[in-house]
Amino acid sequence: MLELRKDIFADERDDNLKEIGKGTQRQDMLGHVTGASTYFNDHQLQGMLHLKVLRSPHAHARIRHIDTAEAERSSGVRRLIRGADVPRNLNTLLSLINFGKDDEPTLAVDKVRYKGEPVLAIVADSHREAFEAIGKVRVDYESLPAVFDVEEALKAGAPVVNETYPKNTFTYYDIYDHQKLRFGDVERGFASADHVLEQRYQMSPIEHAPTETNGSIAAPDTNGRYVVYTSTQALFFSLDTCAKILDVPSNTFHFIGGTVGGGFGGKVDTLTEPLAILGAMLTGRPVRYIFGREEEMQYGPPRGAERIYLKDGVMRDGRIVARKVRAYFDSGAYTRLSSYAAVKCAAHLPGPYTIPNVYGDIYCVFTNRTPATAMRGFGVTAMDFAIECQMDKLAHLVGMDPMEFRILNAYRDGDMKAHRREAKNTALIECVQVAAEKAKWPLREEFKRMSSRKDGGGPRAAVPATTVDSLAPARPSGQQRTPYDRAPQPAAEPQPPNPAPPPPVSPTPAPQPASHGAIRFSSVFGSRRR
């Protein structure tokens, strides 16, 4: 049951609209209820072949030898694909937008780093024949010690999971092994606090479990191109990832998708398109590669587990004066998108509250499990679990009503946030007040009268003196440069307190963008070759 509270913030809205705000029927609903909606797999192609992947049974092992003689003779087998057949068998998803180094092979060559990692693919006339051929492949593995705990992985002597990052943690800005957030001085905050509370929170990996599993169909198209029916959540992202891995111009591909049986973040990683296309290239026939449910659950990328240490200083009157976070993202064997999760997580601290001293160290850690990826609420969901459980404990500690405790500490318009931007368009207080009203949760009058639009800014708008880590080495040339990048930014001078950010240079008159920090154009996405 949904109620629109039009009375709140009415003065900021123009509700004189015709189509916006109406509960118009979905454009795709008739297709859904008649079964006419067309998903990637709902295509009949003449002479379709089926691709199955041989996956590693070991979490960490060296590949000494692969014997495919018997498999190649197995009935119905059209082609066997190994790592050596992949034109560029090393990639990381965000290399397309200039973030992170290539660290993941499409098919493992020397080493397998997680149980289920693809080692070899077989393209055959039928599912059965593909399975039979896979059963005849002999792989000689040399098992290696594996590490599954994020903190163990960071200890000296831990097995090296991903040689691109030998310390088992993603490198940020070429200098740090974690993403930082520094705002004010938390140690001074803790010293002045009436109570200090440190807690540990732990989330475990979660599967997107869309009812449609990952998959794609690739087929030779006209004029030397390939048509690819795909379940991707990001059409051009996947198209360009395939262009890079298969080392062909991006217009070699004609991607068709758009109707997906649930994504939730689990269909961004371009898991099946590269091999399906390569299969079509090598056999000249349409090839379908679709994850089975067990594959999706155990070897499809999950939402990464996170371990969070959260320390707060709070005053008797309920004001939180310091919040320190140390968090570990379990990226699994490869980077994929987890490197960005740590950045998004750092930006989220300390949650929707104005706290004068905030400190964050967020690690993106490699372990020998299925590589994690984005999932609904990426980088924020687990941190919100930790923060909001901790807020309840702090309220309990100072004997304050949990709702009132949220309103007291809530951020308001004009406050300075920990990532040093002014809080605007805030509405946490109103949400708490309305939820309390709906749940018949008593609030004292003074808290009912508080507003996101009152009592913000002023002293709360200042960037407090901040202690930065002592060893801040000069910044080297920056990450993998592409020919389209401008010269690297000069090392950022310490920002003057409360700087007026320069007006954003935007190629088109984007409607009234909010103020941003220094602008650095990254590569022109999509049309460049590396």
Binding site: M1, L2, F9, R13, L17, K18, I20, G21, T24, R26, Q27, L96, Y172, Q179, R182, M203, S204, A209, Q233, L235, F236, H254, I256, G258, V268, E294, M297, A305, Y340, V343, K344, A347, G351, P352, A374, G377, F385, E388, D392, K393, P402, R406, H419, N425, L428, E430, C431, K438, A439, W441, S452, T466, V468, P504, T508, A510, P511, Q512, F521, F525
Partner: protein, 340 residues
């Protein structure tokens, strides 16, 4: 054997969009001589309603009924570039791109109408039902169909438009983490009520009351779909699902839908939702994106409700009956907290 009830709350905000390599989306709007419009995208509909929301945004911006607009998406040969459907960026980025494209198309349409009615374009307005008339003189009117025919066959104008919306990359200061992560934030508060069996640790959802602030409910039915479905996923994350039940030990991972635990149709509870709208300065009609954040408040609210019911804090997800039972036994039995 006793069943204990408890209530817990959580309040959150959520960043709209991505700060990674620049976050652009493009849109094309074109029409045919019968005055019908097509929005051409390459953005993906995962079920969140991408096609439906952009259709309404285009119709509103053009000033035509939604029935005159259809969205065609995800053919890389026809659709313009888009980063993809994730990070709550769809409504905001693609919506703005569609608005920009529709504005340009509207501009041409109004010029063509002005030429037909021999007035200044600035004196014209659309009635949202397929007609364009002189402000204050509704009888001096022309249908968008006739304008389209005139534009095509007499005036030689193409009623179409292109749009791009880019939130430029905001560089992150390595020392302080200073950055512009997002241009606007959605908000929410959730009150969850649970019942805990203190002999088995089983937790049952009793009800949820929530308030979500989303800038603008572009389509309240689609918003309701996200908030109801998102809350269900929140319950699933809170009490049920994981690919590694014994994490960080990778063993006993589920391989099918019997082993992978998610709330069934018999596990759902009433959920009473209020939606607030404080428009974002740069959102299409103020809209932010409800799709991702709607699950986030449920997990902590449920954990806090379990504490209120039996006095145990379980800080590890999912909060299985075993974790609740072990905590109850460790403190020598249930300790219900003050009822709120």
């Amino acid at each position: 054997m006793a069943m204990h009830r408890g209530r817990g709350i959580a309040s959150i905000n959520y960043p709209i969009g991505m700060n990674l390599g620049g976050d652009p989306s493009q849109a094309l709007v074109h029409s045919n001589p019968s005055g019908k419009f097509t929005v051409s995208l390459s953005s993906i509909d995962l079920g969140q309603g991408m096609k439906s929301v952009t259709r309404q945004i285009c119709a509103e911006t053009l000033g035509v009924p939604v029935e005159d607009v259809y969205v065609d998406t995800a053919d890389s040969d026809t659709g313009p570039h888009c980063m993809g459907s994730f990070a709550s960026r769809g409504t905001h980025r693609v919506g703005n791109a569609v608005m920009a494209a529709a504005k340009e198309a509207r501009g041409v349409m109004m010029e063509a109408a002005a030429e037909e009615l021999e007035v200044n374009a600035a004196d014209l307005e659309t009635d949202g039902r397929g007609n364009i008339h002189v402000k204050g003189a509704p009888h001096r009117s022309i249908s968008t169909k006739d304008v389209a025919i005139a534009a095509q066959f007499r005036q030689g104008k193409t009623i179409s438009g292109r749009g791009i919306f880019l939130v430029p990359l905001s560089a992150v200061d390595p020392e302080t983490g200073e950055m512009s992560p997002a241009t606007c934030y959605a908000h929410a508060c959730m009150v969850a009520e649970v019942e805990v069996d203190d002999e088995t640790g089983e937790v049952t959802m009793v009800r949820m009351d929530s308030a979500y602030e989303l800038g603008r409910a572009l389509n309240p039915r689609l918003v309701e779909q996200q908030l109801v479905g998102g809350a269900w996923m929140g319950i699933s994350h809170a009490l049920y699902e994981t690919t590694e039940p014994y994490y960080p030990d990778p063993g006993h991972g589920p391989r099918d839908f019997v082993e992978y635990l998610m709330p069934g149709p018999g596990d759902i509870c009433p959920h009473d939702i209020a939606v607030l709208e404080r428009p974002a300065a740069d959102g299409p009609f103020g809209a932010k994106g409800p799709g991702e954040m709607c699950a986030n408040p449920v997990m902590p609210a449920v954990a806090n409700a379990i504490f209120n019911a039996v006095g145990v804090r379980v800080d590890e997800l999912p909060i299985t009956p075993e974790k609740v039972l072990r905590a109850i036994k460790a403190q020598g039995g249930a300790r219900p907290q003050a009822r709120r």
